[in-house]
Amino acid sequence: MAASTKKRKKKQSFGWKGQIFLICLLLASVMFASLAVIVVVGMVPTIVAAIVDRSEGRMRALTIGAMNFAGCAPFMLEIFKKGNSLETSIAYMLEPRTIVVIYFAAAMGYLIDWAMTGIVSSVLVQKTKNRLRDIQKSQKELTERWGVEVTGTIPLDEFGFPVESHHKPEEA
């Protein structure tokens, strides 16, 4: 119940922010139509990644998006420099070099995500395993110093000694 309420709130908050963003985006697209064409066509890998990405915070899409945008940026600057016309923009987009560069940048984003995830994951696994070994060592030391009763796995008397140790010494 609480989870669904939170989800609804999230959707609502995204709703009005998104609406403002969309309006701004629409206005910007109209004002910079030539650049918008580059962005729309060039950022397709990011859009696909954002749809496919199920990770929390959609970090993969962010990684790809950043590199993808970096791939778009030089062309957008060129178009801007050349008068920011729609024709120039379309001309650029029709050149295979433009698409190759932009999509290569997006692919680099994918590569970074794959490599970093793998490296960080293996480092963390190793670290965790080391920690487990340390814990086992500490537990062994505790058992050696305080006896098996420190584990709390055997019944103890009020003084913390195993109950069965209350034996009468042999009458010799």
Binding site: E56, M67, A70, L77, F80, V120, L132, I135, E149, K168
Partner: protein, 708 residues
């Protein structure tokens, strides 16, 4: 009735303990030493006396207590003999110091006393060393016949010296208890100038006295249970001895002990002893005075002294024992004297029950004996016997109480027990050592016959409150089932002279807590020593000898936890060492430290255990027991250890939780770090993108911009 709790099992482990100092291999069976016989089997006693276990002196034997030749060196007299005491006959060791003070040529002189390592028996024994000035005994068998000595000779050679001895003994608060002709010696002279009285310390009072030499009431007791007696009993024995010396014939020849008692009651001791022998003059007066059967009529020592001064004493009226006008039938016999009937009833409780319950005995008491006091005593005894119910040992209780009512001055008789109240201690000791039935002693104390006995006395009972108090204490001890109670404690409480009867130290004659320390030190050298120091006997013994040494720890000694018992023992030993300011005991200390394993286990911290163990091992070499105990006596150490242990437990628990979490994460190893990896990738990618964009901007708008 409660069960007897007596530790009476032999302990094989302690058996192989090395026996005390001394010397030389055990000799073969001791030959009788004659003059010039070689001295063999020497055993050193007190450094300057040598006892020869191979050279017996049977003429000085006291029943089972044997006499041996001894020789002194330095300032000690050369011609000595040793009386080596038997365990079951408690020697009168507490009276030895008083006896030392008597310097009378007519009494054998005590030179030394103490514990000797008696190699022939392989154990320590108590022994008395006397100066051998005895010569030959006046008679070997002093229960038959007579010596026919002239009264004048007896007066000068026997009466005067003996009265002198008795005065000395009175001054030293000693009852001899063994005055008889066979214990009187000629001192080595042929003309009998002066008799020498033999010793009296090696056996309980009156243990060796024949019935003839005992008063009627004491003669009815078992020989071990006659109690400490009084000087009046000694005077009676002297009177009997004089009669045997002076008479020419024995009127009691062939009589059994029971017949002697019967005749003493019927005719009086004087007639039984002297019969047709006619004494005349002053000596007759003395003999009558000494042989009165009624203790209150009997001459005292002062009266004898007056007689010796030549003054005449007015004769006393002899009180006759009550006698019934008609007999009562019991088991086919006719009885007219309540004392004799009491003895028979006590012997045959089952057969006596109908006689008592049918009212026949009461009728006989009131009509034939016409003794209202005795009848009242009997009625009260019946009520008291009924108090415990009519099951179980009711006939025995009934018989005992009836016997006390019929013969209040006589002994308390219950089953196989036949003692004067003060004689119960030696009797119980003997029964324990000889492994006799002890349940009857348990019942004897629990039935509390003592109050009836005390209430029934016509005369005054000396120190009655102390006597009753001791019996009260015995009952309390019997109710206490654990260590420090039971019949063991009754033994030591009722017989203060007895040594410790523990099987653990059976080879040692331990009479004091200090002796115990020395015995344990010797025992500690033995590899087969027991694990624990104490048993029921040692605890009871220490509790009676000096309760401050052990009573604070008795509760722990009975605890089910071994470490508490071990620590309690250690504390007791340390207390004895400290309170008695004794020397160091490295043997005991080592033994103690070795047995402390369960005590170390009471520390959680293994490092602390090791550290304390190291300290204890170090201290063991010094033999300082209080210092060892101090290691375990600081509550702060236990508290701190416990606190640290609790912390360690919490830490262990936290680590356990962490392990569970980590193991959960590692279960899906492939997903571990994915999130972080993506974040890192986004960061790297963002930075890279930023660099590319900035580079593009600078390339596009900077000087010399290069077209893309």
């Amino acid at each position: 009735m409660s069960d007897v709790t007596v530790q009476n099992e032999p302990e094989t482990q302690a058996e192989s303990a090395p026996i005390v100092p001394a010397p030389v291999a055990a000799p073969p069976p001791a030959p009788v030493s004659g003059k010039g016989a070689p001295l063999t089997g020497e055993i050193i006693f007190n450094e300057n006396i040598t006892v020869y276990s191979g050279n017996r002196l049977p003429q000085y034997d006291k029943g089972p207590v044997k006499a041996y030749t001894a020789r002194g060196t330095d300032k000690v007299s050369k011609n000595l003999f040793a009386m080596v005491c038997e365990e079951h006959l408690t020697p009168r060791s507490l009276k030895a110091s008083n006896y030392f003070g008597i310097l009378n040529p007519s009494l054998v002189r005590l030179v030394a006393s103490g514990v000797i390592g008696w190699t022939p028996a392989g154990k320590e024994k108590y022994c008395f060393i006397f100066e051998n000035t005895l010569g030959n005994a006046l008679m070997k068998d002093d229960t038959k016949g007579g010596l026919g000595m002239k009264p004048d000779l007896v007066l000068n050679s026997v009466i005067r010296p003996m009265i002198n001895v008795m005065m000395d003994m009175r001054d030293k608060d000693i009852v001899h208890g063994n005055i008889r002709v066979a214990n009187m010696f000629d001192g080595g002279s042929k003309n009998l100038e002066r008799v020498v009285l033999g010793e009296c310390l090696s056996t309980p009072v009156s243990y060796l006295q024949p019935v003839l030499y005992e008063t009627i009431d004491r003669a009815l007791c078992s020989s071990i249970g006659r109690g400490p007696g009084t000087q009046q009993d000694d005077l009676y024995a002297l009177g009997v001895s004089l009669a045997v010396m002076m008479r020419h014939s024995d009127p009691a020849e062939g009589w059994s002990d029971e017949e002697i008692i019967q005749h003493k009651m019927d005719e009086g001791t004087y007639s039984v002893m002297l019969g047709r022998d006619r004494l005349t003059g002053a000596i007759l007066e003395l003999m009558r005075g000494l042989l009165y059967d009624d203790e209150n009529q009997r001459w005292t020592l002062d009266e004898v002294l007056i007689w010796l001064d030549g003054r005449r004493l007015s004769p006393k009226q002899a009180a006759r024992r009550s006698k019934a006008s008609r007999p009562v039938n019991f088991m086919g016999e006719k009885y007219i004297r309540p004392e004799i009937l009491a003895r028979e009833i006590a012997k045959n409780p089952a057969e006596a029950r109908p006689l008592i319950e049918d009212g026949e005995l009461e009728r006989w008491l009131s009509r034939a004996l016409e003794d209202k006091v005795a009848t009242a005593r009997f009625e009260k005894a019946l009520k008291q016997a009924d108090e415990g119910g009519k099951g179980g040992d009711y006939p025995d209780r009934l018989a005992t109480r009836t016997a006390i009512a019929l013969h209040p001055e006589g002994p308390m008789r219950y089953k196989n027990i036949n003692v004067m109240p003060e004689g119960i201690g030696p009797a119980l000791t003997e029964a324990f050592i000889m492994k006799r039935d002890l349940q009857s002693y348990n019942d004897f104390f629990m039935n509390y016959f003592i109050t009836q006995w005390v209430d029934s006395q016509t005369g005054t009972v000396p120190d009655v409150s102390n006597l009753v108090g001791r019996y009260d204490g015995a009952r309390a001890h019997l109710r206490q089932k654990g260590m420090g109670g039971g019949l063991e404690k009754c033994i030591y409480a009722m017989n203060p002279e007895v040594h410790c009867l523990s099987e653990k130290i059976a080879k040692y004659h331990v009479r004091t807590p200090e002796d115990l320390m020395h015995a344990l030190e010797k025992l500690s050298q033995n590899s087969g020593r027991p694990t624990m120091f104490f048993d029921r006997h040692i605890v009871a013994f220490l509790s009676v000898k000096d309760r401050k040494n052990i009573d604070p720890y008795i509760h722990d000694m009975n605890a089910p936890e071994g470490y508490r018992r071990i620590l309690a023992e250690a504390k007791t030993l340390a207390t004895i060492q400290k309170r008695s300011q004794m020397e160091k005991f490295p043997g005991i200390a080592k033994w103690m430290v070795e047995s402390l394993a369960p005590v170390y286990e009471r520390f959680h911290d293994r490092e602390l255990r090791e550290s304390i163990k190291k300290n204890a091992d170090k201290l063991a070499e010094t033999g300082d027991l209080p210092k060892i105990v101090l290691l375990f006596d600081d509550p702060a150490v236990y508290q701190s250890d416990n606190l640290e242990f609790r912390r360690a437990m919490r830490r262990y628990h936290d680590l356990e939780q962490e392990t569970i979490e980590i193991e959960g994460e590692l279960r899906d190893e492939s997903s571990l770090g994915q999130e972080t990896g993506r974040q890192a990738a986004a960061l790297v990618s963002g930075i890279l993108a930023g660099i590319i964009i900035m580079t593009a901007i600078f390339s596009a708008f900077g000087k010399g911009a290069v077209p893309f």
